[in-house]
Structure formats: structure tokens, C-alpha cells
Amino acid sequence: MTGEQIVFLVVAFVTLFAGLMVVTTRNLVHAALWLVAALFGVAVTYVILHANFLAVVQVVVYIGAIAILFIFAVMLTRRDMRDQGPQMNKNWWFGAVLAVLTFGGLYFLLQGWEGMTKTATSYPVGFDAISELGNALVSPAGYVLPFEVASVLLVAALVGAVYVAFNPRNGNSGK
């Protein structure tokens, strides 16, 4: 077993454990912090995959922005957080069964696929993935349309979110 494999296994188990804590912890702020741990684990996975840009974007976007947004949202909807009643709904066992079935089914399907045991070719020396990525994102032969549409999508999300959450006609906006 190589060092890379050991690192991967440790990171994978930590990430999965953190993921389990996310879905089972009662305290929602703790759940959000466990989510940060899980997302950091995913960032390390990107590093092992040589996807530097994805790794750092993962930290900047998820930990720097999305986790903060979650914590703010938890604080805004605090009154329900007093952990009254169960955090799980009545059918939680059904969800558990379905999740296990999904995992089993995926595992079964993947076992039957011949590309499964593929190993990676060694990473080309001096290959600059970021500049390739820049090329792919803005060259007309590449993904320029998805790139611009992503911008439109985010602006639409901003406009929609601002409108939905804080429409003055909904009554008590701002406190």
C-alpha cells in the first residue's frame, strides 16, 4: 500500500464520518461545522486527484461562503432550533433503508463495469491544468456558453433569493 493510498483512505473515512455527523447531529450549528469538515475532506480528495483549482475553489466557495451562509441561516431561524422534538422525521428508517439500497445498488452496478479497476496514467510533467482550464472556459470551441450561462444563473439566483426572502410585501421585512 502506497502513501497516497493511505492518505486517501484516512481522508475518505474522516469525510464519511463527518458526513454521517452532518445528517445525525441534533445541533444544527454543529451539523454545519461537520459539513465544513466533510467539505474539507473532499478538497483534500481533489488535491490527491491533482485538481488544484477545484481544491482551492472548494475551500473558498464552500467553507468561505456556503458554510457561513448556512450558519447565518441557522441563526435567523433560531426559534425552532431549541431541539424540541426529534430531529428525524417518522419515516427516517425508510430513508436509511433507501440510502443503504442506493449504495448497494451503485456498488453492484460499478462492480459490473469494466472501467472500474482502471488506474491513472502518470500525471504529465509541466502540464498546467489551470491554463488549460482558462482555455476551455473562454475559447469559442470550448465551454464559453456554459461559462456565461453560469454567470446568468448566479445572478438569477441572487435576484430570486433577494425577492423571495425579503419582499417587503411579505410583511415584516427587517427587524
Binding site: 475553489v57 466557495v61 441563526m75 435567523l76 453560469a150 454567470s151 445572478v155 426572502a165
Partner: protein
């Protein structure tokens, strides 16, 4: 050798140093807790109500606007790296991208959502 090993070492050592400092301080310092000492510090006044109070929505709005801008600006980095080689067409694409972004900011501004009121 993968350069990220060094980044990992920086994380490890960067965590070890404060852990060590706090650990030594914990060993050296006296430990005599009592309820008054451990009470929440609020300028000598008794705490009223819960500490985990509810917050005003404006914090969420700023986090929201930040999230959108953060994601979009991060996407501009590969564009910026390759800009010198790609010429004017890529510059115009980037400018369109930024203008779409600024349109979102203008909308939020016009809706009066950037006011701290």
C-alpha cells in the same frame, strides 16, 4: 514530490504550535473554577434571556450577495491566467461576464437591499 505535501506540513505545524502553546498554558495555569468566575461577562449585569439570540435578516442578505460574487469572481481566475494568450475576444467575454454580475449588484441596490436598516 507533490508540493501539496508541504502545504499539508504547514497545516500540521500550524496547528501544532497553537495546540502546544495552549497545552503548556493549560498545564502551567491554576485551575480553580467557580460559578461567579465562569459566569458570562456582560459588564456586571445579570444575563437576560438566552445568549443565542436571533439575528436580523440583513446579515443574511450580505452573505448572499457575497456568495454570488465570490463564486463568480473565482471563476474569473482561469480567464485571467490565460488572458495574455487569448486576445481581445476573451477580454470581451470576461467583460460581458462581469457586466452580468454588476447587473445583479445594481438590482440588489435598487431594491434597497444593501441598506443596513
Amino acid at each position: 514530490m507533490n508540493p501539496w505535501i508541504f502545504v499539508g506540513l504547514f497545516f500540521v505545524v500550524g496547528l501544532l504550535i497553537p495546540v502546544g502553546a495552549i497545552g503548556i498554558a493549560w498545564l502551567l495555569g491554576p485551575k480553580k473554577p467557580n460559578p461567579i468566575k465562569q459566569s458570562v461577562y456582560e459588564c456586571g449585569i445579570e444575563t437576560v434571556g438566552e445568549s443565542w439570540v436571533q439575528f436580523k435578516a440583513q446579515y443574511y442578505i450580505f452573505a448572499l450577495v457575497f456568495l454570488v460574487f465570490d463564486v463568480e469572481t473565482v471563476f474569473l481566475f482561469p480567464w485571467a491566467v490565460k488572458l495574455g494568450a487569448l486576445g481581445l475576444f476573451a477580454v470581451i467575454e470576461g467583460i460581458i461576464f462581469i457586466l452580468i454580475l454588476v447587473a445583479g449588484l445594481v438590482y440588489t441596490w435598487r431594491k434597497g437591499m444593501l441598506e443596513w436598516a
